[in-house]
């Protein structure tokens, strides 16, 4: 029974693949390659050694951009949330930067760092910085006062108050913010790679089109992006399952 339930999404995808195959085979004009062509595209990429190379290149950029943003944004956001005063003076600045798409920074990023990894990493860093900062600010501000008062009541030093009350209290919200932001970072890396570098999955898509309209490889790149995005999200989600962290997700 549970096996059937588990197989349901797989069966659904199989049906879609068949429908895609039939539609692609019957099309009069060539609008989309079929699933078999895409599968051969993936095999070709693997054989040429590009599959692993490009996936690793994209993940490398996301990791560095995302991690460096997290290292800066989380402590900064926690501090800003803690000292509400600072938040008030920073808030207009954050609100101005927020609607600027990270992609608008591509020219400036290339101007500063040239075409290459650093420019792409910088874009991912920018894309992750604000969402993570805002998550951390909100997380601190929404800590119930009773927790902080209880911590103070038991005579905690400021450092242990941060470690034993502030940190566990914000963790569930931070994990959600990290998960959403990693999704954003993964979207941005593809766009950044289309312009700022010459490797990675975004580059693969643009390159496959420019070098002879290889739409089978374009769609293969899209499939890879989707699958890896799903894996990243699943990885972040698994953090939410940790028992001592789960308190923030269950309805009381």
């Amino acid at each position: 029974m549970t096996l059937l339930v588990r197989l349901r999404p797989v069966a659904f995808i199989a049906v879609l693949l068949v429908a895609w195959h039939i539609a692609a085979a019957r099309q009069a004009v060539h609008l989309l390659p079929g699933p078999i062509a895409v599968a051969f595209g993936l095999v070709e990429l693997a054989q040429r050694g590009l599959l692993v190379k490009y996936v690793v290149a994209s993940l490398f950029r996301v990791t560095w951009g995302f991690m460096s943003a997290a290292i800066i944004a989380i402590p900064a956001g926690l501090a800003i949330g803690w000292y509400r005063r600072a938040e008030m003076s920073l808030n207009p600045l954050i609100q101005i930067f927020r609607p600027i798409s990270p992609l608008a920074w591509i020219p400036i990023s290339i101007l500063w760092f040239g075409v290459g990894d650093v420019a792409a990493i910088f874009l991912i860093f920018l894309a992750s910085l604000l969402p993570l900062t805002l998550t951390a600010i909100n997380a601190v501000e929404s800590i119930p006062t009773v927790y902080i008062n209880a911590g103070r009541n038991f005579g905690l030093s400021p450092a242990s108050l941060v470690y034993r009350v502030l940190y566990p209290a914000v963790i569930p919200q931070l994990i959600i913010g990290l998960r959403i932001t990693l999704g954003i970072a993964w979207l941005v890396v593809v766009a950044a790679e289309m312009i700022a570098v010459n490797s990675g999955l975004g580059f693969l898509i643009v390159d496959a089109r420019n070098a002879g309209n290889r739409y089978d490889l374009v769609v293969a790149g899209m499939v890879l992006i989707g699958v890896i995005g799903l894996l990243l999200d699943t990885g972040m989600r698994s953090l939410e399952g940790i028992r001592s962290l789960r308190w923030g997700y269950s309805e009381d």
């Binding site: 119930p144 927790y147 008062n149 209880a150 103070r152 009541n153 005579g155 308190w247």
Partner: protein, 254 residues
Amino acid sequence: MAQAFKTKLRAEGISMVFKRDGNSTSVLDNISLDVGDGEFLCLLGPSGCGKSTLLNTMAGFLSPTGGEVRIDGEVVTGPDPRRIFVFQERGVFPWLTVEGNIGFGLFKLSRGERERRIAHYIKLVGLQGFEKAYPQELSGGMKQRLEVARALAVNPDTLYLDEPFGALDSITRLIMRGELLRIWEAERKTIIFVTHDIEEAVQLADRVVVMSARPARIQQIVEIDIPHPRDISSPRYLELRDGIFEQIGLAHKI
């Protein structure tokens, strides 16, 4: 009370004015009060009268705009582990197990001593078998007992309880009152208990401090001279209870 009255806490001329948007609201007006060592005192008043504010100034979470609170002769300037506040909302930490919560304030003790105390207080409040449970797996009454145990574990000499049983159903509330009295008789802490429930105050307290509506003043202090366990249908109980009902200006007929 028959025993000698040794002052634990002295509030002298406490006033509290909150300023907000240019308006100032007087919440506490010149409150002076002595609380005896080991006494069970209830602060009783209508909702929103400022009794929680008074309790928060006694605990050091709020600084009064006038007057001062002294405990054992020392002016209170902030919270202190010697006096623990049990919160109206549930103050147990949801990220810690029952054991973790009770051990929260015991970080200065050795591991063995900490474990001994945790076991002792788990037993005292009847949470055996739930050592590894997280608060969301507990009922409201169990969470409230957990919070009391966490407070008692650091061996404070004063407990502040801010309507601790307000969110519980009436049966659990009655059981919890009995539990609290049992614990109080075993540990002889000074307890300052805020409530808006007249029956609760008369059942629990040595003295009931009846407070007026805002700005809160002390209207009357009623000594409850009935030994525990109290017979809540005895003439003396009814007399004291009815006296407070009248004091607050309520006829108790529905």
